[in-house]
Amino acid sequence: MLEAYIREQREKKDILLMTHIVLGYPSFDASLEIVHAMVEAGVDLMELQIPFSEPIADGPVILHANQQALASGAKVQRSFEFARKVASRFEIPFLFMTYYNILFKYGVSGFAADMKAAGLKGAIVPDLPPEEGAAYLDAMQTHDLAPIFIYAPTTPEERMAQIAQCGRGFIYCVARKGVTGKKTAFSDDLSTYLSRCREATNLPLAVGFGVKSKQDVDFLKGKADIAVVGTQTIRIIEQQGIAAVKPFIAQLR
């Protein structure tokens, strides 16, 4: 379902844009405004991060956003309500992004059922490798949701092929080592890595970590299907306010 949407959009566009927000940062009202601005600016899909107290794959900007959201009382239930609202109001697919404990504590199968009911299309859980994800994979399959798995530059080919067997929708290729929001070198090494990813799976490829400008997005055209802009929009909102989101996104592609 998600994959079909991505392929359909790709026929019209050189590359798709996926953005990322932390729910409840700085508030749920602001989150709604941000989603609205992003959709108007033409993003093709969005990650909604349910805040977690120990986001080990995230760098300082998203870490801070997680902590602020939690400090202002962001609850998991509220994130579901928010997801339901935006999924019914806007046409684009929305995904949950969060850490495994949020699903585990909620109950993995109930979590998937409620995701489906809220109109979400899939999930990215960066601390859940497929080996630990049997229950999650079952639940996502039952509810026809896409479990998005991750490739890293350190992933060997054989493992890439195994991961591709478990993933649906697309594969999220982490552009470099490290956490979110640090500088990425858009270089020959990245191209080589992305062609390894392309070899390993027929699923569409998204590339994230350090994507922050039109130049970066242009680099990814022809090498990937989706450019993921995460930390940079959070920085822009922090520095220039929500009004700056739309022009920033619009000029990326």
């Binding site: 080990i56 404990n101 909620y106 859940l128 493992r159």
Partner: protein, 408 residues
């Protein structure tokens, strides 16, 4: 992923993809070392020449007389180089780092003992070293920060989250996912993703192996009970491991803080507040809310002030093989005072948790029964906290004078 390391459903390896290859390398290196008889011999030789192994088992004659029950023995991990059992694990992992050909080590630290131990190992083996330490702990364990820096380590105060041990672990992981090619993360306790719980237990098991031989030589029989404090669980696993198959009651003592019903404690297994979750790469009992967000913990002992616990101990709790109790901050300071007065020993505030429970139970046992308390570390590092707890006026005057001297 080669292996995931489960203990009755606890443990696992919940890793970001970028670290999977690094853990596979670590797993392979550890397996190869374990299979190599010479490796363990090399490890024991390092610990007997660079540290103080075997550490003695001290008969606490005065405490035994004081309580009039069980014969109390104390395993003296405080006599290790840098003053705690942390040295064992650190030197062991240092040998693995050499095998992997890496040039830099990073570590988290709570009380600072693991940080200091890692910094000495790095100095000795010629590795670069960065230590992550919560800002709150930097404040309460200044002397250890001083030594880490003298030893050439960079100490990074962690200002995110609750600014204690768990936050230092998160920051160490963030460093590792960036620098894994050159860097090994020397995790300090029997927690975290596989193979850390197994590997740290393996290196610390030297404590129990020695204690078993020593108590048999001294008393001719196995002890009745063994007491150890439990933060992450490495000193407890270290002494318990050699007795798991024996008829010896094993007692883990967690940080009861201001009381296990106050919400201000770090008793994951001994209170009603802990529940199973997945964080920092492994599945165990955590102090978390109904959404799965980790809660703030509290203990007078920075080294026990941690939100999770060894998955091996979680499984031993579930099977009933280990009993878990909690000691409050107040009880800990009292037990420390008594031990100093009666035996001239200065246990760390962490270790004093084990003493509290042993002192509660010793009078109910007979002189036929020997018990062992694991004194995991020495307490002189805690001088600022202990002086505050004792409200020592001469110490306060000294600090004031010292501060004035710096002003001048």
């Amino acid at each position: 992923m080669i292996e995931r390391g489960y203990y009755d459903g606890f443990g696992g390896a919940f890793l970001p993809e970028v670290l999977v290859a690094t853990f596979d390398e670590l797993e392979q290196t550890f397996r190869a070392a374990k299979a190599d008889e010479g490796f363990w011999q090399e490890y024991v030789r390092v610990m007997s020449t660079y540290s103080c192994r075997p550490t003695p088992l001290t008969f606490a004659e005065n405490l035994t007389r004081h309580f009039g029950g069980a014969r109390i023995y104390i395993k003296r991990e405080d006599l290790n180089h840098t003053g705690a059992h942390k040295a064992n694990n650190v030197m062991g992992q240092g040998l693995l780092v050499k095998r992997m050909g890496k040039s830099r080590v990073i570590a988290e630290t709570g009380a600072g003992q693991h940080g200091v131990a890692t910094a000495t190992m790095a100095a000795r083996f010629g590795f670069k070293c960065t230590i992550y330490m919560g800002e709150v702990d930097v404040q309460r364990q200044r002397p250890n920060v001083f030594w880490m820096e003298r030893l050439g380590a960079e100490v990074v105060p962690v200002t995110e989250g609750t600014r204690i041990l768990k936050d230092a672990i998160n920051e160490a992981f963030r460093d590792w996912v960036t620098n894994m090619d050159t860097t090994h993360y020397v995790l300090g306790t029997a927690c975290g993703p596989h193979p850390f719980p197994e590997m740290v237990t393996y290196f610390q098991s030297l404590i129990g192996q020695e204690a078993r031989e020593q108590v048999l030589a001294e008393t001719g029989r196995l002890p009745h009970r063994i007491y150890a404090c439990v933060g992450g669980g490495s000193n407890a696993m270290g002494i318990f491991n050699a007795f798991l198959k024996d008829e010896v009651e094993l007692v883990g003592v967690e940080a009861g803080g201001k009381g296990v019903t106050t919400g201000q404690h770090a008793a994951r297994l001994a209170s009603e507040d802990g529940s199973v979750g997945v964080a920092q790469g492994y599945k165990t009992f955590f102090l978390q809310d109904e959404d799965g967000q980790m809660m703030e913990t509290h203990s007078v002992a920075a080294g026990l002030d941690y939100v999770g616990v060894s998955p091996i101990l979680a499984s031993l709790k579930q099977s009933g093989r280990v009993r878990f109790e909690a000691a409050t901050d107040t009880e800990v300071v009292e037990a420390l005072q008594l031990t100093i007065q009666k035996e001239g020993l200065i246990p760390a505030l962490e270790s004093a948790h084990g003493f509290v429970q042993a002192f509660k139970e010793a009078p109910q046992m007979s002189a036929e029964n020997a018990i062992i308390i694991n004194q995991s570390g020495r307490g002189d590092k805690d001088i600022f906290t202990v002086a505050d707890a004792f409200n020592d006026p001469k110490w306060q005057a000294f600090i004031k004078a010292k501060a004035e001297a710096y002003h001048a």
